[in-house]
Amino acid sequence: MAVAQVMDSRVNPSNPKQRVVLWSNARIDVYGGPPITDGPEFYDRPDQPVVVAIRIANWTTMAGYLLDKHGGFHLFNGAPAVGVKSNVRDTDTHYVVTGVPYLPSGLWYWDWAWDPDVPGRGIAMDVFGNLHPFGGATAPPRVGRRWASPLARKLAVRWRDSNGNASMRAYTLGYDGSINRDYAGTVAVTSPWRWNSDMAVDLVVTDWDTGSGYMLDRNGGTWAFGQATGTYSPGYKLGADVARTLEVLSPANPLSFWRVGPGGQETEWTWSTPPTVIAGGADPQSPAAEVKGTTRPVLAWSYSDLQSDSQALVELLVFNETFAASSNMTDPAKHRKSALVDFTTIDPMLRGIASPVDLANGGKRMYVRAQDSAGQWSPWSTRLWTQNVPKPAAPTALTAVADEATATVSLTATASVAGTGNLLRFEWSDDPLAVDDPDEVTWYPVRTADALPVAATVIGVDRDARLGVPRTYRAVRYSLDPRTASNPSPLATAVISRRCYRLTALTDPALGGEIRAAESLDWTRALRVGVQDTLYPPDHTGVQYPTAISSGAPSSRRGTLTITVQNRAQWEIIKALGEADSVLLLRDPFGEAIYCRAVGDWPQRLLEAQPLLEEVAEGLPIRHMHSTSLPLVELRPPHLAA
């Protein structure tokens, strides 16, 4: 870095309101104490940081010491001298302390820890994790560097146990979040988070006997380790460099923290209790124990918080009770993929939603939990109810008859006019398993036949069936208010046997028909992958491979349909399709159905040929015969639309 920024902070253990923040240019911001009236200043140094750590020896006078990056000790506010006075550099005067070698250039030291009870005793840590005891401090059993590169980030030391007996323990924090122990008896700690980059900045140990505490990352994330109570991270900003130091103001209840950013930005927060959430909400609860009137009941919950923290996030899941009862639902979120309803909201006022999907009859179980604005999650609350909505009577006598001339399938079903369920939809599936196991395949509504009024005989037409492929149908009777659906009718199957090219418009079933493709239809999809040869060492003799970066899935499928038009009538078909401004359906002899748009130039070329007899009668000197090409781009099939 080239400019000053926050390097260290301290809090008076006897008065948490009294604090100091140290900047790398020796600026000291004091909160709740006398100002700093003397001491070093390095505002004019471009080689920041100059000082890296602070020690307050006397919180009344605010006397203390600074450690510079070379290993020099600096006094302020009248602190007693330590070591030998020196001015190796011509720009500052400092003290050199035995055990902490002074190196006049470069960045060597990063942190220190002082014995709170013995003046002048402590341990300095260099950027490689080397520990340098001074003032008679016990040397650590480990000697030498912990890291080969300058990656040490923080030193935490305990000098005595709770009985006041000497018992040294220490942890060093690495740039990547590793927490490493020194001195015998130091409890092994599993790092709460490990990064592949320089992210960890501070470490606070709250319980040396269990090896518990908190680690801070640059984004402002506060990570508990050992047996420390988890906390949240106000102002956490992924990817931003917003945090430098962390102090635990109160390790007991209420747990409270103070965080300082690189620009001196302060954040103070107190751990709060989780909110209380009740699935179903207050009386009358919803859904009721038995729901008869709708397949989309209101899924309600109540929210309360002792600290009046607002609702920040809600997760709501609904499962079939048969699934929930047979699964380990300690954390329902792990079964999210099996949920019938998976809903989240950040609306602080929302306390319920109508189910976004129709729930089939049977036992249902809702799980809901909420996070408060302090980051605390409530436990999962659950509610069981039974969906018991009367079903309309299923349609009967389903028939499916293929019409080879129009390449359509006529569908009829019989329904009772009386009873619930005022609408009927025909559904199709091309899955060959449909007949064997109709519940295991996906059914799609027949386009334009998915909301037909119920009558004694309901008639629909499927105009999209693939050619030469058996299609299975069923009919379902339903209503929207209340939302109910019958069991499906018995199945019926039809197949359009004539294999040819057919091009029709979706907006007008009268447009289009069989066409004569002049040549086979070629579809292309662009694979958008870029390849570049990058720099290699000049003496590299091995095989050199390029790097490939893709722009994702292949682009849309495009093709050109070249058609030979034999007479005026055929041309009128093509002309109507081209001018229809409609999504087109192209069915080919191979059983594929492609929804597409004609995009681009649409040429018409005259093919010279003798006129037909009827054309001669019309006085035409040449046959009405053309070649035309329709450039097509495939679109999402309507039945797959979101």
């Binding site: 400019v3 004019d44 070698p101 005891p133 990817g239 958008r528 992958v529």
Partner: protein, 381 residues
């Protein structure tokens, strides 16, 4: 560097599937998503407008009409938020924001292939550029960061600013109604050795000037499959190794110099004294002028070596971050460099080649010889 997940980071170090997205915001909220077919986001450290956008966009759904696009991209209502990222192995996309931009120009072309929208934009600084509109009086002893906020509030009431504690005060000051709010705020920031900019999420930030990272956030080296080419330039003539900072009446005047005897631009050495004068009317103390001068000196010394390189895009990289470049044949041996300018492309592939990012760098002053941190001698206890 953007906080990529380890999985995304690993992908960015080699071949991958890149994803881009361009969101349209109204009143700070997402209203529509367009797809980018070309263009780039440019970032430049130290520029009054730190980020700018030029892009060609299409409507991937094909649902947008020309009139819809005109309403959607109404320059007085909309902001553009481009993203770029990677597709993870499980199919999820991890995206990194590249800034939030107001429109400075747009062209909507309707052709048989659909709508093509060409945009140019600048970051939210453009909203603060212009007359204050009313006179502003700053009382004596006002923290510099508070004064900056007061100035900018005239252009955008209720603004949100993430700010450092400068530790310096200013005032009494009087700003006439015709003074440029953003320009004066920039000067106030400079007086404290700070910079005022909008970050990649569109947040207004007053932060310390200079490198954003203590350690390199990325390494580009021959043989890594990322580095395409390198261009290195040395300047041994125009570099100033002494900065004199002074206020308007020269009642405050300080000098900060390259005092490192090992530096090729050592102010007492053969290179001689080359003085840059930093004038700023808002210096209110010697310390403040020293800090601003030290910041400027670090910038000046960094100009002694500039490097431009192109590489596989990492959209998480940002200006003022430190990277290392290793290309010994070009005289760069794990050289620490500060990113000064950056072009992140919005189109991924052009022809049969991926589009690289372009990075302009200056020397890092984390160490005088340009390396990030020296390998020190073993310390003896």
């Amino acid at each position: 560097m953007w906080g990529w997940s380890p999985e995304a980071w690993d992908l960015l170090l080699g071949g991958h599937t890149a994803i881009t997205r361009v969101d349209v915001w109204h009143s700070g909220k997402h209203v529509y998503t367009l797809a980018a077919t070309g263009g780039a986001v440019q970032a430049e450290a130290g520029s009054p407008v730190s980020r700018s956008l030029s892009g060609s966009l299409i409507d991937p759904t094909g649902q947008l009409s020309r009139g819809d696009a005109g309403d959607l991209l109404n320059a007085y209502e909309c902001e553009i938020a481009p993203y770029r990222g990677v597709r993870l192995a499980d199919g999820r996309d991890e995206l990194c924001p590249l800034g939030v931009f107001g429109l400075t120009g747009k062209t909507i072309t309707d052709s048989p292939d659909g709508l093509t929208i060409s945009l140019t934009g600048q970051d939210r600084a453009m909203g603060y550029q212009g007359d204050l509109g009313r006179s502003v009086a700053i009382s004596a002893g006002t923290p510099t960061e508070v004064a900056i906020r007061q100035l900018l509030t005239t252009r955008r009431p209720g603004l949100s600013m993430v700010t450092l504690k400068t530790g310096f005060t200013c005032g009494p000051l009087y700003f006439g109604s015709d003074m440029d709010a953003w320009g004066e705020a920039q000067k106030l920031a400079q007086s404290a050795g700070a910079k005022l900019f909008h970050d990649r999420s569109g947040q207004l930030v007053l932060a310390l000037a200079g490198a954003l990272s203590d350690r390199p956030v990325a390494r580009y080296a021959e043989g890594d499959g990322l580095l395409l080419d390198v261009d290195r330039k040395e300047d041994s003539d125009t570099i100033c190794n002494v900065v004199v900072a002074e206020n308007a009446d020269q009642s405050i005047q300080v000098e900060v110099a390259d005092m490192d005897p090992t530096s090729p631009t050592y102010s007492k050495g053969q290179y001689g004294r080359r003085v840059y004068t930093l004038k700023n009317p808002y210096f209110s103390s010697v310390r403040q002028a020293q800090q601003a001068a030290a910041t400027r000196l670090a910038y000046e010394l960094g100009r002694s070596e500039t490097v431009r390189f192109t590489a596989a895009p990492n959209p998480g990289l940002d200006v003022d971050e430190v990277v290392t470049v290793h290309r010994p044949r070009a005289g760069l041996v794990d050289r620490g460099l500060v990113v000064a300018s950056l072009d992140i492309p919005l189109n991924i592939v052009e022809g049969d080649a991926w589009v690289p990012m372009q990075v302009g760098c200056r020397q890092s002053r984390l160490a005088q010889d340009g390396r990030v941190l020296d390998e020190p001698p073993e310390l003896a206890a």
